[in-house]
Symmetry: D2
Subunit: 171 residues, 4 copies
């Protein structure tokens, strides 16, 4: 009998195209590469910036990528998405990106990324940010988002470390 | 000819039933009362805690209340909601609460409230928190949620002040 | 003690602006008027066509109107909405319109209206269509949408009859 | 340079677990198998009945399967989903299933399936139903859902024919 074992799904969140820095873009590429090497599936918001760099990193290293986009049409997704989920629900799709993750890695990011961190925190996902990647990753890394302090926002010094601590936790 | 002028819609967000404190509950009641007195419509998540206290404050002072609930059935709404919007979309309804507001007042709150603050910040709503009400209101009051610093999270010493600065801004 | 009793919420669905006929527009106006006279709250998708005519009919007869729009910005709502719920989730807001109704009245309509009828049918709402109003109202009136046959799509000869049978059922 | 070419995504919709017949289950298995053989990705609602049978058919023939579930937790998905998208938005996820498809195949089904057909029709997807599979597939096959008549609901005598006409159209 065939019994399917779902692979780990790791979400990568962060800066969109408008505000992505070179540092964040390179870090995102590395995160995508490490997710691919770990045999996990990369989940993201499917657009530009950190999302696109991470997808590129995964695809160039044999990985599988899923883009969960706000729009209703496939054409908005970046070209490195193997599978595109066209939600049509606008930025409320941030909830779906975070809910569809076994673990979350943040690279830089603005308030949209903070919302995704919030959803991950609320649903008790394992969350890691790349130190030095800027934006909300650096603002909230090492902290708790509310005073319940139920899920730490962990800091990792680089992509390799981020994926390692996720794999160690999710065995 | 009849020309309708939509009243201001002010969202009240904060602690749910599980974690609401007496201080937050009283502050929320006052916020509801001030919204009613200002002739605005109170919008909220329609459940317990801060949402219920605010609705009660509005209803006991002649106001109108709208509860935008996560569930598909009316019965989950608190009894002080005049109008119930049954979204059925779970906690993604947080987006709708914030989007449906001309201004937002936060009273205490956990990460769900932070998500609503984030949506308000992203969509450039006027946001005020009640100082001393606890939770994310006190954690984020007076700060910016990301490094774009586009919308300040304003602090008000009490409900009256909160509604006054909203009305002054939204004339 | 003050105990709020939520008023009945009746959804009006049907042709949007592009395809609305004079017959449907007049029928929608009458439906809005009858909802107002019955003391119920009119819920709709908040845009043009049948939605706008129904809201106008309700407002010119002292009623209360709620527009649940696909967009994130208030400005898309028609001018006869007292309360605007900005969902930002696109046409998935059809689910919310139907879920937020104690009963549903259809006036003409295309496939979007059929989707709303489907959601009403699935959640076992009381559904009435105005006979002769065209579109899916006439295509599906008097029928069941699937072979479970759990909720009839009732036919009413006019707006007054539609609201009468709803009130008789929802006492 | 690596240029990713997204594979076709074909949605399979139909009876859920409660009402699935043996005939529909077998037809769904065959649809999944043909999608896999065509090198396309199977997209579905991720739960039981037709969704599970189709996923099983795809997995046992080397295909890739995506389950877009109403719930927020992975555990609700059937065991044959390679990738699970946890929407948390309840049955409004029907919109996402249809939007995320290049083409749609219906096998039996109740009103939920009709809603998905409606979304596919609204967004002008290529839609095929399996003749003789029961439910809304047989009720609406060969017809138009509204009087604009913009998208025919095509009938195919079996799974192989369904996928053939989809591939012929989507070259």
């Amino acid at each position: 009998m065939l019994r399917c074992v779902r692979k780990k799904q790791i979400a990568v969140i962060g800066y969109n195209k408008d505000r992505c820095t070179d540092i964040a873009s390179k870090a995102a590429y590395e995160v995508g590469k490490e997710i691919a090497r770990a045999g996990a599936v990369l989940v993201c918001g499917g657009l530009g910036g950190v999302m696109e760099s991470a997808c590129k990193g995964a695809k160039e290293n044999g990985g599988t990528t899923v883009g969960i986009i706000p729009q209703e049409e496939f054409s908005f997704a970046n070209q490195y998405c193997d599978i595109v989920v066209c939600t049509g629900i606008g930025y409320a799709r941030d909830f779906i990106v975070a809910s569809s993750a076994d673990a979350i890695v943040a690279v830089g990011g603005g308030v949209g990324t903070l919302i995704e961190l919030g959803v991950g925190y609320m649903t008790k996902k394992f969350i890691v940010v790349i130190a030095g990647s800027g934006g909300v990753a650096d603002m909230y890394g090492g902290k708790f988002l509310d005073d319940r302090q139920c899920v730490p926002i962990r800091l990792a010094k680089d992509a390799r470390m981020a994926i390692q601590i996720i794999l160690a936790e999710n065995k």
